[in-house]
């Protein structure tokens, strides 16, 4: 079972990575993550918003209300400079972890 720290880490990485391409509201953000990971990562409302609010408090992302073309008000999240700064080391750490796990798996099969 994947521990909560790892889960949280991957979820935060996913959100920051997707927001790198531009601001998105919560539903669209969850949909984009699901699409880009071929359904491997899925966020329900209950998982997504507490995390977004937490990341907002940490000032990695910022949410602002915007009105879309169809007149709907949505809270759009965008990456802050602090979030951009957080993203690079996070990506490096996860890449290192996956490489290490791959090496371990190869060694086990060798």
């Amino acid at each position: 079972m994947i521990g909560s720290v790892i889960k949280r880490g991957t979820a935060e990485l996913a959100v920051l990575s997707v927001l790198q391409d531009g601001p998105l509201h919560g539903y669209e953000l969850a949909r984009r993550i699901e699409q880009q990971t071929n359904g491997a990562l899925r966020f329900t409302l209950a998982a997504l918003y507490p995390m977004l609010y937490r990341m907002e408090q940490q000032r990695w992302i910022r949410g602002t209300w915007e009105t879309s073309a169809n007149g709907r008000r949505r809270r759009c999240y965008r990456l802050t400079p602090a979030g951009k700064k957080k993203l690079s080391p996070l990506q490096r750490e996860w890449a290192e972890l996956f490489r290490a796990l791959q090496r371990l798996t190869k060694a086990a099969h060798a």
Binding site: Y27, L45, L48, Y49
Partner: protein, 229 residues
């Protein structure tokens, strides 16, 4: 189509945030549910099933409420603690220390408490003690102005003696238990007189100032409240 706003509002009515924040959360979550539901309909999912799947995104509303509450108030708690306790407390500490230094340099001679054989253990700067209510009042005022509770206001006013209080309450008794070489009656007398000199007397002086400000500001607030009704 279900009224998503109403549904979220009902489930998250106990969200412990201010009205604006709570309304924002309700609106945002309702918009998410609405969009999920509409996307399912577009995919051709029948309406009852779309409703069921949309609602299945939240297994436990109480748990979600709690998670959102803690995620959103974290910063406020930190900010409040800084402005209501640490900042006023540290300013009180700086003022009381500055006053002590001034009194030591320019003030009248202190009252010296000694034990047997005339060993001085404590110097009482009465003029400093008389000035301390001012420092306590300043800490209390700053904390109160930042919206501090009575506990925060009073803690800010006695902040300068808290470190000494901790040392005297914990470190010295523990030291006494560990170290048996010193004569206990001397150490106990020293401990008591130092506690009075470093914690109890200045603490009481600071608290007096803090209490006066707390009472004055609470009274003023109450009068304003009555006047505005």
């Amino acid at each position: 189509m279900p009224d998503w706003q109403k549904l979220v509002r009902e489930h998250l009515s106990g969200l412990g945030l201010d009205d604006t924040d709570r309304e924002e959360v309700h609106a945002e979550l309702a918009a998410h549910l609405e969009e999920s539901y509409e996307a399912l309909l577009v995919e051709g999912v029948p309406e009852p099933e779309a409703v069921r799947r949309t609602l299945a995104q939240v297994a436990d509303w109480k748990e979600l409420q709690l998670k959102i509450h803690f995620a959103r108030i974290r910063k406020d708690m930190m900010t409040n603690r800084v402005t209501q306790l640490w900042l006023p407390g540290l300013l009180t500490f700086a003022l009381s220390t500055g006053l002590e230094a001034l009194v030591q340099k320019f003030g009248p001679r202190p009252i010296v408490l000694d034990l047997d054989k005339g060993t001085p253990v404590l110097m009482f700067y009465t003029s400093w003690l008389l000035m301390l209510p001012l420092a306590g009042a300043l800490g209390a005022y700053l904390s109160k102005r930042a919206g501090g509770s009575v506990r925060m206001v009073l803690a800010s006013s006695i902040f300068p003696v808290l470190p000494f209080g901790v040392v005297f309450l914990i470190a010295i008794p523990v030291g006494l238990v560990i170290n048996h070489n010193l004569a206990h009656h001397i150490v106990t007398a020293a401990y008591l007189s130092m506690s009075v000199g470093w914690v109890i007397a200045p603490g009481a002086a600071l608290l007096a100032g803090g209490l006066l400000v707390q009472l004055f500001l609470s009274h003023r607030q109450a009068s304003r409240g009555v006047a505005s009704h």
